[in-house]
Symmetry: C2
Subunit: 498 residues, 2 copies
């Protein structure tokens, strides 16, 4: 009955992706030409990726994807692009990025829209190299949109089929045309939002409200906001800019972590979809709740002399930044009190809406977990009652609830195991970190947030971690970004058996 996995079909599609990587590589290449900096870091991967991509495309003429081939394609694509993405860093050979483990970490952090960096001296790198980090993230954000809406939703990964989508077809064998069609729609929306943010940020500069915001900065930050990714060419992240910029970035982070079909409906005039969508109300509610919590703690702490606007801005900015898994910093939140830091830590587990560029567990799953567990408590004491779980009025299948429980549980187990690895490995290597730093770094990489606390704080760098820990984190970013299941299925023997 079962047939052997058609890995050639998967790799052929990976080849197509690799071949087209010359397009994003052309952006930093152009900037390097303009700046007169080294071209080789971008020429080498361009030639390499087109050659390898073209070779992989010749593996087969077959193009119908089954479930297993889709999982393999997804896992292999993110891995292959991260390898190509690391080449410019290694070839450029500057600073900490010259080290291959660091380069792979940075590239995976880019393509997975994580934003955890191993850069220590930003001045050591050319503008073109720093732009490549932003381009990787912009591309990773678009990639995840297509993945989440067109592929994972059809593979029923951890309840992804529940999210608001354009259509509800589930014919996996017709994935390919659907991918192109969805990618086209989402791509235009994504591009439009990016352009809008460039205009807003550079407009603030032209209006005198953002002296530090150059056009280069505007583009680099727009690339990494809509993708909820968080790399910045500035070591101080968004704290390098004026309060006006910080306020302006907030709504773009919120939109980046909003279901893109919902954004599409709103853009095309169906504002009522926002109110009808239970997940959206839950998402916005959580943002406001956590921001109010952080603000309350900051006020109670007294802390550094700060006005109401400043506390409100940093509370909202940091909560939005972390819940949406963007990872920007408007201030060094690592200096906040234990209570505020722990609240931000909890925010890492939340995530924005399904069907966006956000990472982490996501509000869709938490909403179903909450509703289902409340229902379970009801039926525990009323076993003869039948009470289905509803989301925006529709019944959620019990099988989906089971999958979502399992997904959330497995996420937490990954987090705990990763924390233990990071803490123990640090102690063996005589790197002095606290368990909270280990917890933060593990959660922040696995949930693709970016910065964490202490050694991995917002103005710090992941560079001091040992090579084994950085490789583990690279693995965590990969697994976490593509929703765990596509990697885990590859690890089961049954996947490969015919």
């Amino acid at each position: 009955m079962l047939t052997r996995v058609e890995w050639r079909v998967s790799l052929r599609l990976v080849g197509t992706v690799l071949k087209w990587l010359w397009v994003p590589l052309a952006l930093p290449l152009g900037l390097a030409l303009y700046d007169g900096t080294a071209l080789l870091p971008f020429l080498v991967p361009t030639v390499g990726t087109v050659a390898v991509g073209a070779a992989l495309e010749r593996l087969t003429d077959e193009d119908s994807l089954g479930e297993r081939e889709a999982f393999l394609m997804v896992s292999a694509t993110w891995l292959a692009v991260s390898v190509v993405g690391a080449v410019p860093f290694v070839v450029a050979g500057a600073g900490t990025l010259a080290n291959p483990v660091n380069a792979l970490f940075e590239s995976m952090s880019g393509i997975t829209t994580t934003g955890a960096t191993v850069v220590v001296d930003f001045g050591a790198h050319s503008r073109a190299v720093l732009l490549w980090r932003a381009v990787l993230q912009w591309m990773g954000g678009l990639g995840i949109l297509v993945l989440a809406t067109a592929i994972l939703s059809q593979l029923s990964v951890g309840g992804a089929q529940l999210m608001e989508t354009e259509s509800q077809t589930r014919d996996v064998n017709k994935l390919t045309p659907k991918i192109s069609q969805t990618a086209g729609l989402l791509g235009r929306l994504y591009l439009g939002l990016t352009a809008l943010q460039v205009a807003v940020l550079y407009g603030l500069h032209l209006g005198g409200l953002a002296p530090a915001m150059t056009l280069y900065d505007a583009v680099a930050h727009a690339f990494t906001t809509i993708s909820t990714a968080g790399f910045s060419p500035r070591p101080e992240s968004v704290a390098a800019f004026s309060p006006a910029v910080q306020w302006a970035v907030v709504p773009f982070m919120v939109v980046g972590a909003t279901n893109f079909f919902l954004v599409y409906f709103v853009v095309t005039g169906s504002l009522d979809r926002l109110y009808e969508n239970e997940e959206f109300r839950f998402y916005v509610g959580l943002l406001l709740l956590f921001a109010a919590g952080v603000a309350g703690i900051l006020f109670a702490d007294g802390g550094p002399p700060a006005g109401v606007e400043e506390v409100a801005r940093h509370s909202l900015f940091q909560v939005v930044s972390i819940v949406t898994t963007t990872g920007y910093a408007s201030t060094n939140f690592d200096l906040w009190s234990s209570g505020a830091k722990h609240l931000l830590f909890v925010c890492m587990f939340v995530g924005g809406m399904a069907g966006s560029t956000t990472c982490s567990i996501k509000t869709l799953r938490w909403l179903v977990v909450l509703k289902a567990f409340r229902r379970d408590l009801f039926t525990a004491s009323n076993p003869r009652a039948v009470r289905p779980v509803r989301l925006s009025g529709s019944v959620v299948e019990e099988e989906t609830i089971r999958d979502i429980y399992a997904y959330t549980l497995v996420s937490l187990l990954f987090f705990i195991a990763a924390t233990v690895f990071v803490a123990v490995d640090a102690s063996r290597g005589a790197l002095s970190i606290t368990e909270f730093e280990a917890m933060g770094a593990a959660a922040s990489t696995f949930f693709n947030v970016g910065p964490a606390f202490g050694i991995a704080g917002p103005f710090a760098s992941y560079e001091p971690f040992s090579a084994p820990t950085k490789l583990l984190m690279t693995f965590l970013m990969w697994v976490g970004r593509i929703e765990i299941i596509p990697v885990l299925v590859l690890l089961t023997p049954a996947f490969w058996r015919s």
Copy 2:
């Protein structure tokens, strides 16, 4: 359709339990008479509990328990007994136990078989008071056996219905006769195993292999081993005794965390039930695996000069002690390396078999989680395949799998929330603890293990924690011991509505 919860029926049964508490109270009272120490600490609660118990019994003549009444009875029983159990400590008024918050903590730690102590100076307390701690645990172990096998298995709490039981009747309205019948069978087995351990421990003393093991010590430790509870009248726990005693305690901890019906079958000659039971093989396999892991780390660390026997004994003892949730210490494992301590930390989440006196998540649930998740990975890539999950050959219902996923998830969420509370509360009160100490103390109290690391280490005391943290831990011990759901249902408004 739904009727109001019959809280009078629940409280009437709580009253019966309270009334009979004079029996366990008679044990320390007898010792106090013999030793010539204060009697009032035991006379006051004897009079009080009989009076309150008799009054509660008069609330109603009704005795048929519905699901909701059963949940209320279970929650209220553990809470009420912990309050009565605290009275001797307060009335005795010696040492740290004179403080009411400490007394309640110690009593809840006793009745929930946790074994976390706030005692600082063991010499400040009479032998009778220290015996009361052990009696509370012995009673708590028996209570949980009856609860787990006769009540929770019928209320389908987190998959408890899967465990090996004497019968499979699910007529909740006939719970009362079933409770007496099961309690009788299990009570005799429990008493027999306790007597056997007293004989073994005191026999070692008489044979010259355990100089420090008095009859009093033998009884106190037998009371707290079979109940996987872990209070010791000695500040150094089982490390106060010879290697022979430590080896002798291990099998009793293992049996205490083995399904008691399985123990019953083995005692009555059906040894083959052991091999047929998948959970038992999994449980023993995990014990050996973790013990080998700890031994490997201890050998690799070099550490203090120790022979093979010593490393083997402490590795096996500590892993068995923590997996079974007993919580004894054969050595100060807080001095071990980060790797060994983290492995013990992970052991806290395991627990022994369902249907025993063990706490934590339990091997039954982990086995189902592992099997079901493996199945889920298979069906993710083969959606047309139908593959039920089997346990010891029988199909596990999908609804049960969903409940077990939910239970395990909620356990981890409780652990994370408790860790945050403990860490933040400590930082606000200027108590200097590491996040790992907070994690350990949170897990150890919620999963009813007992000791943890650092400030809550095996030879240390929970006394330095703030009152809010100690009250939270008291709550965690209560919620964790009775399998979470009975307390959580009380917090839903639907429970109380008619």
